[in-house]
Amino acid sequence: MRRVATRDRSTAGAPAALGVLLLAVLFLLAVPGTARAAVAGCVADAATGCINGTIRTADQQPAVGVVLDVEGPGGTTQATTDAEGRWTAAVTEAGEYTVTLDEATLPAGESLRNPDQNPRTVTVALGSSTGALFPLGAAAAAGGGGSDEDPDAAPDPESTAPAEDAGEVGAPVGASESGSFSWGRLAQQATSGLVFGVLLALAAVGLSLIYGTTGLSNFAHGEQVTLGAIVAYLAVQSFGLPLLVAGVVAVLVGAASGWLQDAGIWHQLRKRRVGTTQQMIVTIGLSMALQYTYQFFFGGGALRIVTTTPTMLTLGPVRISATSLWSLLIAVVVLAGVAYFLLGTRIGRATRAVSDNPALAAASGITVERVVRLVWVLGAALAALGGVLMGLYLNATSWNMGGALLLLMFAAVTLGGLGQAFGALAGSIVIGLVVEMSNLVIPSDMRYAGALLILILVLLLRPQGILGRAERIG
């Protein structure tokens, strides 16, 4: 029996609308404030603390590829700013950490505004984030924070911002918003959103296929994404393989892990007739076990797959790194391949038949278990590829990268209609755009929350998703 979102007849209508309204109000109430940098690679929890910040050049462009060394009781880690100038370092022990910015890695012509504050010392507590700020630009420019300033440039309020930075915060929220909007920025965010969405789609398509064929919501799918990124990291950094080979290795390892997982766990559970809800709780346990296994072996810090500074290309108003462009290209080609597989090949048609109705597919001579195995291999391989590309896009991976992306994948899959492979693609792109473009209106550390709110609203208004069709149960 497939699980479908169904509306309880007694309850549609007014209460639903009220719910949307209340949720929206609740969310909007929480919104005002200045936009700021979010933390991409580090989620603080009971065993992890984060140090983070955003580095921007004097003219408020993100400074990419700046290397920072973090040294303290938990050991030494290195962080590098990503395509948006953000950097983050995870530490597993509380205490005083020294953050040193390597001035040689600053973009050409840039210098620290306060060179005497490099290195900086920050106090880190587990389960929380601490900011460390390194403003760039000539010392005299400090007071010149003009009216057209990008709100992202406001110092990270989490940090113990030095007094001389105060001038930058000055602009009132309304003014800075109207002043900050520009078509260039819109284009930049839309491009980032598109790249992010397409990469997310690689992972989400697998999630959707697995749900479609087995009815299982796989909460451990995020760990397949992390696996790909970590294998690529190992292949490049420890075995010295070229990036392309490392990517292929990661995808192969991912595919193998999908085969093993299905053969070792899920096939057995299906054979034992363990229900899908039970299996779902098993995936949660698996996800926990895998996440902490990654952390056990690779620590809580950011792992950089490649350590060279990315080359930035300028296309009109948009700045994009060459790696992101290649990633986008690879992802699009692969997704087109998946589409061809599903629509054009015999086994692909069998997959869609199983998605539609496993019992009927079995009755018409399709070996359901073989299709399911194939879907696991394919889904895990796609997730691994997504992980490698996402690790390159975010400039670093870490033990919980996949975990952080999992809910966005679910949002994408639900948005497109659970079990609909093409729905997952469309949903991912929408979610990617929402995540990146919501920066324009809400504080960027709430951008994931915006995507999740969309998930809830979709379930409320159109539970079958954009591309799903309404189903009847009974």
Partner: protein, 328 residues
């Protein structure tokens, strides 16, 4: 290896405030899942809201009883908001929505836009909201040792929080025991087993589910208060892993039982502490570093959850006939 110190530490976990808080949160989840069959994967969100409600209103100068009421009200409103869209959905949709809603609470709470209210990701320091609770204590100041267990009377990780925490757990157990035997509880169990059958008897299933969701959420909010009283309100320490621990505790002890959550919580924290302390003392630094032992503990929790659900879904106290997880 200092066995006596390890044993004292491990035995201390039996009645630690954290154990009580998790037991209480699991009791709330038991009302959702064990009684009604709702797959709530956002229990940590209820706890976090309760903690915020309590801490923020106390910091605003409200008395203890009012702060507790605020926490309860926060959870009730959250339960209602969450219930309106989710109770119409089934199974894993419900799980995804509740997990997402809890994440939204955490992300909004840790957002720097709300720094003045929630302290953003560094949270609210314990000392800023502990006073009203500590002042309510009838116990004298100082420390008190009961056998090898020595804690402060009133401050932070105190006897006072232990007494109050476990008293609340006992009350909640009593409440669940009464509910299970009441006509109201029988309707909930009916919904868990076969929603359509209950609906055909003319019961308003939606309303019953909503009541169960709010009640379990309120219990979760009180658990959140007890959880943060000996420490600080830290949004990032009350995220998804916390919800998963609560689920492990509930399934370990046995869902749909009265004492399952309490037993589960005690076993969970005692064995985790035992494993960690023994490994810290016995495994040399060269084989496993201290923070790796921490992670090893969580790996075991994950594997335990998997094995438990596969091989003994009814837990220690549960009855397999009483609760099949996959009723629908």
């Amino acid at each position: 290896m200092d066995w006596s110190r390890i044993l004292v530490n491990v035995a201390g976990e039996i009645f630690a405030p954290t154990t009580a808080a998790y037991a209480l949160a699991a009791i709330g989840l038991n009302v959702h899942f064990g009684l009604t069959g709702l797959l709530n994967f956002g229990q940590a969100g209820f706890m976090l809201l309760g903690a915020y409600g309590f801490a923020i209103s106390t910091i605003a100068g409200w008395p203890l009883w009012a702060a507790v009421l605020v926490a309860i009200a926060c959870a009730a409103v959250f339960g209602l908001l969450l219930g309106i869209p989710t109770l119409k959905l089934r199974g894993d949709y419900l799980a995804i929505v509740t997990i997402a809603a809890a994440e939204i609470v955490r992300l909004v709470g840790r957002s720097t836009a709300l720094t003045d209210l929630t302290g953003a990701s560094s949270g609210l320091r314990g000392n800023s909201y502990k006073d009203t609770f500590q002042d309510a204590s009838p116990l004298p100041d100082g420390t008190f040792a009961l056998g090898p267990f020595e804690y402060a009377m009133n401050a932070s990780n105190s006897w006072w929080i232990r007494i109050v925490g476990w008293a609340v757990v006992a009350l909640a157990c009593l409440l669940v025991w009464l509910l299970i035997r009441s006509p109201w509880g029988r309707v909930l169990k009916g919904i868990r087993e076969d929603e359509d059958a209950v609906r055909s008897l003319g019961k308003n299933v939606y309303s019953y589910k909503m009541q169960a969701l709010v009640l379990g959420g309120v219990i979760g909010a009180v658990a959140g208060i007890i959880y943060v009283l000996p420490r600080a309100v830290q949004p990032d320490s009350m995220g998804r892993p916390m919800t998963f621990f609560i689920w492990t505790i509930l399934l370990l002890g046995g869902a749909a039982t009265v004492f399952g959550p309490v037993l589960g919580s005690i076993i969970f924290w005692v064995s985790l502490m035992l494993i960690k302390s023994v490994m810290r003392a016995g495994v040399p630094e060269s084989i496993m570093r201290t923070e790796q032992i921490e992670q090893f503990g969580w790996i075991i929790v994950g594997v335990t959850l998997m094995l438990l659900v596969i091989f003994r879904p009814q837990g220690i106290l549960g009855d397999k006939k009483e609760l099949a997880i996959d009723v629908r």
